[in-house]
Every structure is written in C-alpha cells, then in structure tokens.
C-alpha cells in the first residue's frame, strides 16, 4: 500500500536523523545567566517610553483618571476622523469617564478613525505592546483602523519578552492560548522602497500608548 505523505515524511525524518551531529562549538552556557542583551534601565515605564518614542510611537503617562481624560481629549483634537471604536468593557468604561463617545457597530468598522484597546502586556525592553484575540475584536481593532490607541495600566509593564510569555502561560493554561497573540513594536512601517521609512503601510499610521497608574481610581 502506498504511504501517506505524512508517513513518507516521518520515515524520511527518521532515516535522516540516524546519524547525530555534534553541537556547535562556540557554546558558552556559563555566560548564559547574564544573557546577551544590554541590561534594562531601572524604571520600566521610562525604558518603555523611550523605546516607543524612538519607534515614532506616542507615549502619554496619566497619574489619575482625570489626567487620562484630559490627554485623551487632547489627543483626539488632532485627528481627522474622530470615530472611536472600542469593544472592551473596561476600556469603554475609561472612555465614558473621560467623556469620549465611542462606537460598537462592528459591521461598519471601515468607518473607524481610531481603534481603542487594552493589551496583554507592555514590554519595556523593546517598547512593545502585546495584544491578543482574547480581547474583544482583538484581531481587527489592533490593526485595521488608521490610528491605534492602547490604554494600559502600569502593572502591565514587564521587563522583557520572556516575562510577557510567562504572563501568557499563567493567564491561559497550556493549550488555551488566544488564537492570536501579537507583539506590536511601533506603528506599521515599510522600507521596501529604497529603504525609505514610511509609517502606516497596512496597519495603523499612529500608535499611542496611554499608561494609567494603577492606583488611579474613579474619585481621583
């Protein structure tokens, strides 16, 4: 009987791997503890902000809910299409308290000017925002509208990528990960024409991160 493609490939793999190969010579595991990367600055929020600004993202820090309201309103002033789309209840709550109207009619998403979302984590080392499809309309709102606003809490900051993976493992037990987890580092970009940087290739032209202090509550 003819073998299925699966069996064929597995047989080939087995046969090919009969002869083991030596590990690469230049392994220095004794140094691995420190890792190959430059150490991080002490203050995670500061490290994150510096990176994001270098990437031509926008960073706003708010100590209180009232401050957040002011900054969100200001940020919206410079926007042509002021239709905010927001589907996550916690973030909707913050928008309401800030007095900003938002839309939820997902079948008209092409009218969105700004997608407003939360996130899974912020990665200080690279200025990255980790988002996922566990957030409401997480695939669409984090890439489709021309501007992406992320509202995050300072407790969501982690030093490095591996710490964000650790969070994911905790939050979603194995085999229960969101169908999409995306680590976004700066606005969408391309350098395909003469290596000239252009923002907003297919994803958002602008990426804003509003970092709200955790203690900030309704009355502050």
């Amino acid at each position: 009987m003819a073998l299925s493609s699966r069996e064929t490939v597995i047989q080939r793999l087995r046969k090919a791997l009969i002869h083991p190969s030596d590990p690469p010579l230049r392994v220095r595991p004794e140094q691995a503890a420190e890792g190959p990367f430059e150490p991080l600055e002490e203050d995670l929020a500061l490290a994150f902000a510096k990176r994001l600004l270098q990437l031509k993202g926008q960073f706003v820090y708010a100590e209180t809910q009232a401050e957040l309201a002011t900054y969100l309103t200001k940020a919206l002033e410079g926007v042509d299409n002021r239709h905010l789309f927001c589907l996550e209840p916690e973030i909707q709550d913050l928008l309401r308290k800030s007095g900003l109207p938002y839309r939820v009619d997902t079948e008209r998403m092409e009218e969105a000017g700004v997608g407003v979302t939360g996130c899974e984590a912020l990665i200080a080392w690279s200025g990255s925002v980790m988002v996922s499809s566990a957030q409401a309309y997480g695939r669409t709102l984090t890439v489709y509208p021309p501007i992406h606003w992320v509202v995050a809490r300072s407790s969501q900051l982690v030093p490095r990528l591996k710490d964000a993976f650790g969070l994911l493992r905790q939050r979603y037990s194995d085999q229960n990960y969101p169908s999409m987890v995306s680590t976004i580092t700066g606005p969408s970009r391309t350098a395909d024409i003469e290596k000239t940087l252009v923002l907003g290739a297919h994803g958002p032209r602008e990426l804003w991160v509003f970092l709200l202090e955790d203690e900030a509550n309704d009355n502050s």
């Binding site: 190969s21 140094q31 690279s126 085999q175 680590t183 969408s188």
Partner: protein, 465 residues
C-alpha cells in the same frame, strides 16, 4: 546534462551582464548601505552579540537534531488548538492542499503575505492556472508582482529598484503621478489593498517559526499585511518548511530580536504574531479555519548528512546575502533560484537537482563574510566548498573535468616528470587540458621557468657545499 548546461549557461550570461551593469550596482550599494548602517546601530542593544549567536546556534541545532520529535509534538498541539495539519512530501502535495481549502471556501481571491516557501513551490502560478487570483500584500512583493518579476532578495524583495523605478512602474500600471514619493506610493498600495483583505476568502502566510510546545505558528512582519490577511478571511493557510520548528515559545525571547537585528537592523520587527489555531468560541473575530502545511520538498535530503544538516538552522534573515560581495555585483535574480546568495548556493543544489545547480557553488570567492555574519553560525563558506567537492567527485562531474583533474594532479604529484620536459611543455600541457575549463576572464598562470622543487633543492643543497 542538457538541463545542466542550460541553467549554468544562463547563469554565465546573466552574471557577465549584471556584473558590469553600473546602474544596478549603484542601486544595490545604496540600499545595502542603508541596511548596514541600521544593523550597525542595532548592535548597541547587545551586551554580548557573540553570545547571542552562540545561543541561537545552539537552539536551532537542538531543534533540528530532534526534528521528528518536535514536529510530532507540534502537530498534536496544533490540532488541540483546532487547526488542521497537512504533511507535504513535495511541492505538489502542498499545492493540492492549498487548492482544496480554496475550493472548499468557494473563493476566487486569495491574499498572501510574504513567504519564500510559497515562492519555492510556485504557488501563485499554480493558483492562477486554477482560476484563483493571488494578491501579494507585502509592499515589496506587491511591487514585484506588478512588474512580473520574482523577489530579488529574501527579505527585501524589490531591493534592486530605485524610488524612481517604482514610481515609473506604478505610473505605468496604476496611473499614479510619475514622480510620486515613496510615501505617496505606499499610501496608494495601502488604499488599493484594503478592500482586497475584506473580499478575499483565504489568507496565506508563511511561518518564521513553529512552536513544538504550544503548537504556535509565528509570523514576523513590519507592515501589518500578514495581520490583515488573517483577520477578515474565512481560512488561514500556513505553508511552513519543516525546519522552522523550535522547542519552546521561550526561544522567541532570543530569536525574534535576533531575526530583526540581522534582517533589518531593528530591535524588534513591528509585528511578531503567534497564531494558535482559528478563532476560538469565545473570540469575536478571525478565520473559522486554520490549516498548517508542513513542507519537506527536499529538506530531509539536507538532513541526512550531518554536514549539510546545518543549513536547516537558517532563519532566513538575509544577512549573508547582504554581506556577500558576489551577491552585490551579480544581484539576486542571476542565481535563477528561489533562494539566492550564500544560503541559496548551499541549499538549492540539494533542494532541487544537484547537477543543475552545483555551478552556483563555483561562483564564490570563499571570502567567508557570510559565515561571519550568520546569526546561527552556519559555516556557509565551508558548506559551499563541500558542494564543490561533491560536484567534483559525484557522477554529475563532467568526464572532461574528471580526466583533466586526474591528469593534472598526477602531473603535480610527479613533478619530476614535468621537470624533465621544461616549462614550455608544461604550459602546453596545462593550456591544452585545463585552459578550456579555466574561463576566459582568467589567464592561466604560466609555470615558473624553474620549478619550486628545483629551487628548493638548490636552497637546501647549495651547489658550493
């Protein structure tokens, strides 16, 4: 044999014209210059860049050494995530699997994000022959598709075009302003493609890594086009070489940054996405179906020999192309193969027909720049040498080549024989037999009037003693 001559003859023709095309050289040097500046600046993120390479080399070695085990783990985790896994022994298996999904979703439009594996199996041609339109969504690939050309470079597909070239192309095909800026051109493509993402029934991506522990499929990109291709479509099809599998999600902590650092000089690429199956029940958007095609297509041949196996550690960062003096002069299209540059020279003869493509290994100065930059420490220039060796020894070597080298090496070993006849006869001998294989751009070294042998003897036994 005739195919052998065709491919390598074409290579000779194309390289002798491209190699002397100054305009081509200017554009490539300009674009390469920008790449090298970015990579240089990116070095500051690393306390110990050599350690990063050591660790990456080790991770990939581990992954490939237990490839079978990892793939089976990946397969079962991926299924638990709700995705289908299809094994493809060759290009044909993969093409049929894609077509099956496309047919089932009754769509005539497919959006595709950049993937070398799909280039390797000539997916676009195949789908188009079957009445399915394929739209390349990566800007560089889109430009190449408009121009009817294959990608020039594995990371930067339109690297050989100046902004004026692209503006002229868009003007011709899309009627834009002939002097449009890169920004205006990008915006134009963005606007055109927006609708296509929503219309298309199936989105196709490659994979940079597969994760054995979680069943994840990782896609790295800057533009957001792979994200867009997997948001509105009904099915997401992944075509991934079997060598892409890693032991654990945690390996990405090093490999994502390293791929960015070597590929484009970024600390992190803008979108690093892990897909774990299609939309889940409690999720609000995403494809209903995800199919992962695991492509062999000659890779297990590379795996057989522990020497060539190392080529499977490649993460397709493109650094070796950018470092290669030969690539810079002849350009990516001259290779006549999907994978160009040093890594292409190493793998193409094994993935395709060895005799047809071994000539690529001859086109190298063996300067070792590729080996020096490779983030996973593949000994590329040694592997090029190994291909040459195999070509010289194998059944594909031409009879004349065999005979001449044999005669030549015998003569050299038996220098006394030649010493007797004197230098003029030596030249005649070498010119007669070696000359035709030596190439017309190189002149044969004339044997010295007195052989090294006799000079040495004279030194060690001076006549006055």
């Amino acid at each position: 044999m005739s195919a052998n001559l065709q491919v390598s003859d074409r290579f000779d023709q194309v390289t002798s014209s491209k190699g002397f095309d100054l305009e081509h050289r200017r554009k490539i040097n300009f674009n390469m210059g920008r790449y090298h500046a970015a990579v240089q600046a990116g070095q500051k993120d690393y306390r110990d860049p050599e350690l990063a390479r050591d660790q990456a080399a080790y991770l990939k070695w581990q992954a490939v050494e237990s490839l079978e085990k990892h793939l089976l783990r990946f397969e079962s985790a991926c299924r638990t995530n709700g995705a289908k896994v299809v094994w493809a022994a060759d290009a044909n298996d993969a093409l049929e699997a894609v077509l099956e999904v496309v047919r089932r979703h009754k769509t005539r439009l497919v959006v595709k994000s950049k993937s070398m594996a799909t280039e390797e199996i000539h997916l676009n041609d195949f789908l188009e022959k079957n009445g399915v339109e394929v739209v390349e969504t990566d800007l560089g690939e889109y430009i190449q598709q408009l121009d009817g050309e294959p990608p020039y470079h594995i990371v930067t597909p339109a690297m050989h075009k100046s902004k004026e070239d692209v503006a002229a192309l868009f003007h011709r095909k899309l009627g834009t302003d002939p002097n449009a800026s890169p920004e205006a051109l990008t915006n134009h493509a963005r606007a055109l493609l927006r609708d296509r993402y929503v219309e298309a029934g199936v989105g196709i991506t490659g994979a940079n890594f597969l994760l054995a522990d979680t069943g994840g499929v990782c896609v790295t990109e800057n533009e957001g086009n792979a994200r867009m291709s997997t948001t509105f479509t009904k099915a997401h099809v992944v075509i991934a070489g079997i060598e892409k599998v890693l032991g654990s999600m945690d390996d990405l902590d090093l490999l994502w940054p390293l791929l960015a650092a070597k590929g484009t000089g970024q600390q992190m690429t803008a979108y690093n996405t892990i897909f774990h199956g299609p939309r889940r029940e409690n999720e609000s958007d995403g494809p209903q179906e995800m199919v992962v095609i695991l492509l062999d297509n000659g890779r297990t041949r590379l795996l057989e020999d522990p020497q060539t196996r190392q080529a499977l550690h490649c993460i397709r960062c493109g650094a070796c192309l950018n470092a290669c003096p030969v690539y810079k002069n002849i350009g990516g299209h001259s290779y006549g193969a999907t994978y160009s540059g040093p890594i292409g020279k190493v793998i193409t003869p094994h993935l395709q027909d060895f005799d047809q493509y071994q000539h690529l290994s001859q086109a190298s100065s063996l300067c070792g720049s590729c080996t020096e930059v490779c983030p996973v420490r593949i000994p590329l220039h040694q592997m090029i040498l190994q291909n040459r060796h195999q070509a010289a020894m194998g059944p594909g070597a031409s009879k004349a080549q065999h005979w001449v080298w044999k005669a030549w090496s015998r003569a050299m070993l038996h220098r006394p024989l030649l010493d007797i006849v004197g230098p003029r006869t030596k030249s005649w001998f070498m010119g007669r037999f070696v000359g035709s294989l030596w190439g017309s751009r190189r002149t044969l070294p004339a044997p010295a009037p007195r052989s090294f042998r006799s000079l040495w003897r004279q030194r060690t036994n001076p006549p006055n003693r």
